[in-house]
């Protein structure tokens, strides 16, 4: 049992960044408010990404009004699986993953069946803004359900694992893969019970995981080791994270990417206030890495090309 002062001292030594520091020194300093809509509205993010030639999951439909919900069933008639999400959702709230159907009902990723009525109610809640930041009326995106890469089969419980990379001024500084668990209901958000597994930036090999406040080495549902996995397409993932900065012009941003079996990496969404648990998954604080990039900034030596930034990150940031 450590006393709080020792904890604070040790955390400071490894450069752990608290929520106050993240907000005061990075989010508020590097993220201009006028660019927030680019990440807060997933529809805008998607359009920007398409314009920049970044791969994203295909958009099937957008629902803006209550009455469009009825038409949606018709539009989705030929789609076996799809994902429904609020455009302004935060923290994965409200996302509905439909993996198939049975008669008139939809089957969710966790196996539960959803009647049409329940499905409609959920969408109407999304439109009223139940899941959106600040509760304003929202619109709903329906998009391609990622067929995830089998490399993660042993370490996911239903749902889609995704990769979160923190990008600071276009430099990837820290990465983790988020694995859904039984507890997280197939969702890949840590506060809902998913596991975060730190990834070594230079090699793309997983290191260890965090589940809640607990450090772990195996997936709690499948018991497979989550350490030492090679993330496929690693360089491409880092490149997408580096390019995301040019896309939205937010200095401090969390980039969420999924790996599709056939399509490869797809940019899912961006987050202007990425969480701090990634530090636990990596067993290391963000601060030293961020300071290194800030040193470049102070020296006026920030690289223009995303590829250069990735190279710098793999060489100089990863060893911190």
């Amino acid at each position: 049992m450590l006393n709080p002062f020792t904890i604070a001292k040790r955390l400071h030594a490894i450069g752990l960044s608290g929520i106050g520091q993240r907000n005061a020194e990075f989010v508020l300093m590097y993220n201009q408010r006028r660019f927030y809509p680019r990440v807060d509205d997933k529809l805008i993010t998607k359009r920007l990404a398409l314009a920049a030639g970044l791969p994203v999951p295909q958009l099937y439909a957008v629902v803006r009004e209550e009455h469009e919900i009825d038409e949606l069933h018709e539009k989705l008639k030929n789609r076996e699986g799809f994902v429904v999400k609020p455009a302004h959702g935060s923290g994965g709230d409200g996302i509905l993953v439909i993996s198939g159907r049975r008669g008139d009902r939809y089957r969710r990723a966790n196996g539960a069946l959803l009647s049409r009525e329940e499905f409609d109610h959920h969408l109407s809640n999304m439109l009223s803004g139940l899941f959106s930041l600040g509760g304003q009326p929202d619109h709903v995106l329906v998009e391609y359900l990622v067929q995830f890469d089998p490399v993660f089969d042993q370490v996911s419980y239903k749902g889609v694992p995704d990769i979160r990379i923190i990008s600071f001024l276009g430099y990837p500084v820290m990465a983790m893969i988020r694995l859904p668990t039984r507890l997280s209901d197939g969702k890949a958000n840590l506060h809902q019970g998913a596991i975060g597994v730190g990834i070594d930036l230079a090699t793309g090999i997983t290191r260890r995981g965090v589940w809640g406040r607990e450090l772990i080495g195996e997936h709690p549902d499948t018991e497979s080791s989550i350490v030492g996995l090679h993330i496929p397409h690693w360089d491409q993932l880092l490149l997408i994270a580096a390019q995301a900065y040019d896309l939205v012009e937010l200095g401090y941003v969390g980039v969420d990417i999924v790996l599709d079996k056939s399509l490869g990496p797809l940019l899912l969404e961006l987050n202007a206030r990425p969480g701090l648990a990634i530090q636990m998954a990596n067993g290391h604080g963000l601060l030293h890495r961020l300071r290194k990039v800030q040193a470049l900034e102070a020296a006026g030596a920030l690289a223009k090309q995303p590829a250069e930034r990735v190279a710098f990150a793999k060489r100089d940031i990863a060893t911190l």
């Binding site: 400071h12 608290g18 520091q21 090999i205 350490v227």
Partner: protein, 523 residues
């Protein structure tokens, strides 16, 4: 750097605040603590009426040498009005005049009074009373009543007392009922008694007093009946409630004039409200006087000069920043999670009405019951806004239910929930139920309990008497709070809750190792 600018700004602001505080404290000698031993009161009459388009003339009876009290300061607040004081024999009235008026007019008379030991009521002999001319059947009723009273009395005081008791009887006999027709108020009954006494040549008058009790924002003038005792040569005062001979210690004589207290020409709907407040203490009154001597404007622009009702509001309002600051510390430095940003402070304000225990019980009961209903509503698949409205309606019902039940059980606190923030409770219920479904019961409970804990702490802090006094007398101290808030706005250290959240990491970090090294696994 921008941070230096912030520190500088915070420093300047807190210096201004502390400087003003020091000046008021050391030079003007404003008291740091409320002392309650002195008996200084502020009494206020507020006249309100709708102005007529023509000339408006207002006459208000005001105190003159009230027995047992000294008026040490008086203020007449009436913008654009011409004013003069009319002195009667032993009465005094202020007359306000306005050539052309529009809209609602509010005029104030304020007096600072303190209790001393000096003389009694006046003792000049009144003129002999003249009996009124009456017609039948009133004449008969009057003499019948007076005859009954005479049999039970020995002198003029007991006569008047008996008369008042008979007029106040719950089931008055026929002749009394006849006389009491169209005289519903104690005021009217007092005047009736006076007239009846005149029939027996007993000189009497109706006087008005104001009870000086701790913060009485809606005080009422109370009529008393006085009869002249020609033997001992003085006025005897008789309560119009009980008929007993009494003039309470804390009764402040407003006027002995027999005219109406307030007269507004051609405007029967004008009314006057009274307020009484024990002032913070005499030291403060003295300090105020000193400030006034130095600089009239400083007093004119100080909170202490506002009407009493408004002062009461500011006593509460000025404590809100304290509650908000506490919330800021608990959220940003300790890291307690709450629903909504300022919701706990608003809940804490509501606790002021109910007191703590009853407030918490009420909050938990209503939110708990509301949650149950909300879970049922979830099954009905209502749209968001109708669902919120439904919950709000139910919350009002639940609160009414709590009031009714607690009234039956004789618990008074259940009745004092008038200002309990219904909308806030509705939003709490909604957010809690959504959090419950999305993030699980534990998460919802922890945020709910966090909200309650912060609300309770905020209530306790906002209810510290000396702090309330300090902030009300020295509002500039809030500038210091403002500066501190600015500083915390850039606080980038760990929150206390984060030390627990990241504890595992402190116990077992991955040391910055060469990339090739095998990753260590902690388990």
């Amino acid at each position: 750097m921008k941070k230096t600018q912030l520190y500088l700004l915070a420093l300047v602001i807190s210096l201004i605040g502390l400087g003003a505080f020091y000046y008021k404290w050391q030079v003007l000698k404003f008291p740091l603590q409320a002392q309650q031993q002195s008996e200084i009161w502020e009494v206020q009459a507020r006249v309100e009426f709708e102005a007529k388009s023509g000339p408006n003339k207002v006459t208000l009876q005001i105190p003159r040498n009230p027995p047992g009290y000294d008026v040490i300061d008086e203020k007449f607040v009436a913008r654009n009005y011409g004013m003069n004081i009319e002195l009667g024999k032993r009465t005094r009235a202020v007359q306000w005049q306005l050539r052309r008026g529009r809209g609602t007019q509010a005029l104030y008379y304020r007096a600072t009074v303190y209790r001393d030991q000096h003389a009694d009521f006046d003792d000049t002999e009144p003129r002999l009373a003249v009996a009124a001319q009456t017609v039948e059947p009133y004449t008969t009723a009057r003499s019948a009543l007076l005859e009954q009273v005479r049999e039970k009395s020995v002198d003029s005081a007991s006569f008047a007392g008996e008369l008042v008791r008979r007029l106040n009887a719950a089931n008055p006999p026929g002749e009394v009922a006849l006389l009491l027709e169209r005289k519903p108020t104690p005021e009217a009954r007092a005047h009736l008694a006076k007239d009846l006494l005149a029939d027996r040549r007993i000189a009497a008058r109706v006087i008005h007093g104001l009870a000086l009790v701790e913060t009485n924002a809606n005080a009422q003038l109370m009529p008393f009946l006085q009869v002249w005792d020609s033997e001992s040569h003085r006025w005897d005062t008789i309560s119009t409630d009980t008929g007993a001979e009494t003039w309470p210690e804390d009764m402040f004589l407003w006027s002995i004039s027999q005219k109406p207290i307030l007269e507004v020409e051609n405007n029967p709907r004008a009314h006057v409200e009274f307020a009484v407040q024990r002032t913070i203490d005499d030291a403060l009154a003295v300090a105020k006087g000193r400030l006034e001597a130095k600089d009239r404007n400083l007093v004119a622009y100080s909170l202490l000069n506002l009407p009493l009702q408004t002062q009461d509001v500011y006593r509460v309002l000025l404590m809100m920043p304290i509650g908000a600051f506490l919330l800021l510390i608990l959220r940003n430095i300790v890291g307690i999670k709450t629903f909504g940003t300022f919701m706990p402070v608003l809940v804490a304000l509501a606790f002021r009405e109910t007191q703590l225990l009853a407030g918490v019980t009420l909050f938990v009961t209503v939110v708990g019951l509301g949650l149950l209903v909300r879970f049922y509503l979830e099954k009905l698949r209502l749209l968001l806004v109708p669902r919120l409205t439904a919950v709000l309606i139910l919350v009002v019902f639940l609160m009414a239910l709590v009031s009714v039940v607690s009234n039956r059980l004789g618990i008074e606190q259940g009745l004092s929930i008038a200002l309990f923030p219904i909308v806030i409770m509705t939003m709490t219920i909604e957010r809690m139920s959504v959090a419950w479904e999305e993030r699980g019961a534990a998460f919802a409970m922890s945020e709910g309990i966090g909200t309650l804990i912060v609300a309770v702490l905020a209530f306790l802090v906002m209810n510290i008497r000396w702090l309330a006094h300090l902030i009300f007398v020295f509002p500039e101290l809030l500038l210091v709070l403002f500066a501190l808030t600015l500083l915390i706005g850039r606080y980038s250290g760990y929150r206390i809750s984060e030390l627990f959240r990241f504890r595992a990491l402190a116990e077992d970090p991955i040391t910055p190792a060469p990339v090739a090294a095998a990753p260590r696994v902690a388990d």
